[in-house]
């Protein structure tokens, strides 16, 4: 059976919300390492589940220090828990949100490492398609990691509100929109240029406009430029190289990594002070994103089988005067209520003797005992498995609601006695 993620990880707090699910900071119970767990409710995604799975497989085959790497996936109830590297420093768009624009040295550092992440991705012949500050994450040590590749890595998207529309038009290369001859990895270079402007000025070009309008404008307008005396020639040249409307003219990651903008970064440059400052501001404003599914609900999630919905078995109805005797899934015979009750009578006696049983004893000596008996009479493997599920469910509920077995046994006993459903045996 599938592993339960809660055996290995403890969920702490919701650190972000994405299109597909929420992201939680969590701790590995054994190693005490911190991870990000993205929880996707598969009931809510309209995607074919196999596509999600193959996306995750794909993600598991990518490894780079400039990437939020994949660790493992679990299934719990109807949710999928994707464990990823944790970036405690938040995203670059958070930096912008709380600190305004960044200084050029910091921008260069972020862009340099993003380029390394992109270069790796492109060497694996993959296109990111959504490069922007919100998808560039930082660790607490100030390391830069590219995130949000594919479905499964909306990790760390800490914006509370996210444009569901198309992703993000402001960063989009013109050829994606016109799409005359398809597009290639150079769309990421364009987005990187826009991201550079975003980091240096606080927002991407055209961001004051309606995103829908921008979608039409980008192919028609001349490529944006970084202007003004506040910016160095190096950053201007870098942006101009990235933002060329003809994708063939845009340099590759490798070439861009050799431009002075990213090679001439002062050794002392660090993102850690920025991260600390941002965290302080966030604390002042007391910001914590709310998760879509409350934590308690995630922890107490069960599977949704309602096996008693239909009249498929005779256990519930035995002893009642039904016009016809239904098939028993347990014995595969027409229901023989006499035979069944005879066997169960000794156990039903137990509560009436007022045994000194603890709460958990009712589970062990009555419920599970009875279910074991039922299981041994099952004629098919399927039924046995179902009974096993029922046992596990009872155990789980006893853990969650200590005493529930005791109450259930008592109520069954009272019901059986009062209703005289088993008249023949009551008189014995």
């Amino acid at each position: 059976m599938a592993d339960d993620p809660l055996t290995y990880y403890e969920l702490q707090s919701c650190v972000g919300k994405g299109n597909f699910g929420d992201v939680y900071k969590s701790i590995n119970k054994v190693t005490h390492e911190v991870f990000a767990i993205k929880i996707i409710n598969m009931e809510e995604t309209e995607e074919d589940i196999n596509i999600l799975i193959q996306e995750i497989n794909l993600l598991s085959q990518l490894r780079s220090p400039y990437f939020t790497n994949y660790v493992k996936t679990f299934v719990r109830g109807t949710t999928m828990w994707i464990v990823m590297e944790y970036c405690g420093g938040g995203s670059c768009s958070e930096l912008l949100k709380y600190l305004g624009k960044l200084n050029e040295q910091c921008v260069a550092l972020i862009i340099r490492d993003t380029l390394k992440g992109l270069e790796y991705l492109h060497s694996q012949r993959k296109i990111h398609r959504d490069v922007k500050a919100a998808n560039i994450l930082l660790t607490e040590k100030g390391e830069v990691k590219l995130a949000d590749f594919g479905v499964s890595s909306q990790i760390g998207v800490t914006q509370v509100k996210r444009d569901t529309f198309v992703g993000t038009p402001f960063w989009m290369a013109p050829e994606i929109i016109t799409c005359k001859n398809g597009y290639n990895e150079k769309v990421d270079i364009w987005s990187l240029g826009i991201t550079t402007i975003e980091l240096a000025t606080g927002s991407p070009p055209l961001s004051e406009n309606n995103p829908m309008k921008v979608l039409f404008d980008i192919p028609d307008l001349p490529a944006p430029l970084l202007k003004g005396d506040n910016y160095s020639c190096n950053i201007k040249a870098f942006v101009a190289a990235c933002l060329q409307k003809n994708p063939k003219l845009r340099p590759s990651c490798n070439i861009l990594s050799q431009t002075p903008f990213v090679t001439k970064i002062r050794r002392s440059t660090s993102l850690v002070p920025l991260i600390l400052k941002k965290q302080e501001k966030m604390r002042e404003k007391n910001i914590t994103p709310r998760s879509r599914i409350p934590l308690e609900k995630l922890v107490n999630m069960t599977n949704g089988a309602r096996e008693d919905y239909w009249q498929l078995s005779t256990i519930r109805t035995r002893g009642r005067n039904l016009s016809r005797s239904p098939m028993s899934p347990i014995t595969g015979e027409l229901s023989a209520s006499n035979a069944m009750t005879e066997e169960t009578t000794p156990e039903l006696d137990m509560p009436s003797k007022k045994l000194q049983l603890g709460y958990s004893d009712y589970l062990k000596y009555v419920i599970l005992y009875a279910l074991d008996k039922v299981r041994s009479r099952a004629s098919t493997e399927v039924t046995k498995l179902d009974v096993d599920t029922l046992k596990a469910t009872m155990e789980e509920f006893e853990k969650r609601q200590p005493g529930i077995s005791c109450a259930l046994v008592e109520e069954i006993f009272f019901r059986v006695r009062d209703q005289r459903l088993f008249t023949v045996h009551e008189s014995n």
Partner: protein, 388 residues
């Protein structure tokens, strides 16, 4: 990339180097320092083989490249608007996607590749690489994938020499079929190769007739998410892609019985994903016209109906929907047996209530029409009081 400027070694030489290295690996199982060097040699040779196979090296590093379309392409803007959809085009391992592998451009590379292929067949290189795959470096494992899939795509006339090789050296297929027994990292790689292989009907037939095939039902219940879900994808590919072959497979009663028993076990399991994937697979197979045998067998057994009804009433909308796709066949079957009728009659009111309340997607007209049809069919059943 300095080695590009040296003499390019010939294919034969590379294969020989690899075989030598593998022999060394196998003969020094514990000597770690030596092994490290050997593993590095293997990586180097494999990456050179990749260059031969993919034609030019890393075209994305060239500024004015006319072959931009070699990288992953999304064909239309709508692909972009739907991020998930856009990635369906390249589901294989990154960097390895079939469509991306550049075609050799000159006669000399074609020569090189056929030499390479022949050497691989003769020396059993594919098998030896796959056997030692865990020892190889992360990136050279992907190169092994490229080697395998490139060779699979080779055709001479209407012959596929790699398929001939696989079928005469079936221990390679067997090794691939055991992929889910490896760690998930290795499994994904080997399973992807296997799925490339079973696109060829001959290999798929071999797999279906192998006892290892039945292991996939067990693999699908492994505790590792990656391996269990991946095993179900392989199972799906084995059973759903070659209709004629699967029809032949289900024409054997023993296969049919065993399949139903096993798929039911998967549907009963506790894992939501496995449940959903396996019901989907079942409905896909049952609704496939050529699998008539499977359909009639399945819908004539009342315990199957119970199982499907239990899932039809699951709290999960998606499980309900997938179960509906099977349930409808039970109801639509004009020759329902007594036991099936009994269950339907006994639950007549509840079914009618359930179906009338059951909304999955208003725009899904097929679903809604089928639902109406079922309601009509069930309404025509006698209610339980006057049935005898």
């Amino acid at each position: 990339m300095a080695f590009l400027f040296k003499r390019n070694p010939k294919a034969q030489e590379l294969v020989r180097n690899l075989n030598d290295s593998l022999t060394k690996l196998e003969s020094y199982p514990t000597d770690n320092s030596n092994r490290k060097k050997v593993v590095a040699d293997i990586s180097k040779n494999l990456s050179q083989i990749k260059i031969i196979l993919q034609g030019k090296i890393d075209n994305y590093e060239e500024l004015d490249d006319e072959n931009d379309d070699r990288l992953d392409m999304a064909d239309s803007p709508s692909d972009y608007t739907d991020r998930v959809g856009s990635n369906t085009a390249d589901l294989s391992i990154p960097g390895l996607a079939g469509s991306n592998v550049g075609s050799p451009e000159t006669d000399s590379t074609i020569d090189q590749i056929s030499q390479l292929a022949n050497e691989c067949y003769i020396t059993d290189l594919l098998y030896r690489l796959l056997l030692n795959i865990e020892t190889l470096e992360f990136n050279s494992r992907k190169d092994v994938y490229i080697l395998c899939t490139s060779l699979l795509r080779r055709e001479i006339g209407n012959r596929s020499p790699t398929i001939d090789y696989l079928l005469t050296h079936d221990y390679v297929i067997q090794l691939l079929m055991k992929a889910p027994e490896y760690h998930s990292n290795i499994n994904i790689l080997l399973s992807n190769i296997l799925r490339e292989c079973i696109k060829f009907e001959k290999v798929c037939r071999y797999c279906l007739n192998s006892e290892l095939f039945w292991q996939y039902f067990k693999y699908s219940q492994q505790s590792s998410f990656e391996n269990s879900t991946d095993a179900l994808i392989t199972l799906n590919d084995l059973l759903a892609n070659h209709h004629g072959l699967v029809q032949e497979f289900f024409s054997k009663q023993s296969n049919l019985d065993r399949f139903i028993e096993n798929i039911n076990k998967l549907i009963t399991c506790n894992n939501y994903v496995t449940k959903r994937q396996s019901i989907k697979l079942l409905s896909k197979l049952i609704l496939q016209r050529s699998n008539y045998n499977l359909m009639t067998d399945y819908v004539n057994n009342s315990s199957n109906l119970k199982l499907i009804m239990i899932n039809l009433s699951d709290k999960s909308k998606n499980l309900q929907y997938e179960s509906f796709q099977v349930f409808k066949v039970f109801v639509a079957n004009p020759k329902k047996n007594r036991q099936i009728l009994d269950i339907l009659i006994k639950n007549r009111e509840k079914l009618l209530f359930f179906l009338k309340e059951f909304n999955y997607n208003d725009k899904d007209t097929v679903f809604n029409e089928e639902k109406e049809f079922l309601i009509q069919q069930i309404e025509e059943l006698p209610s339980k009081n006057n049935s005898t």
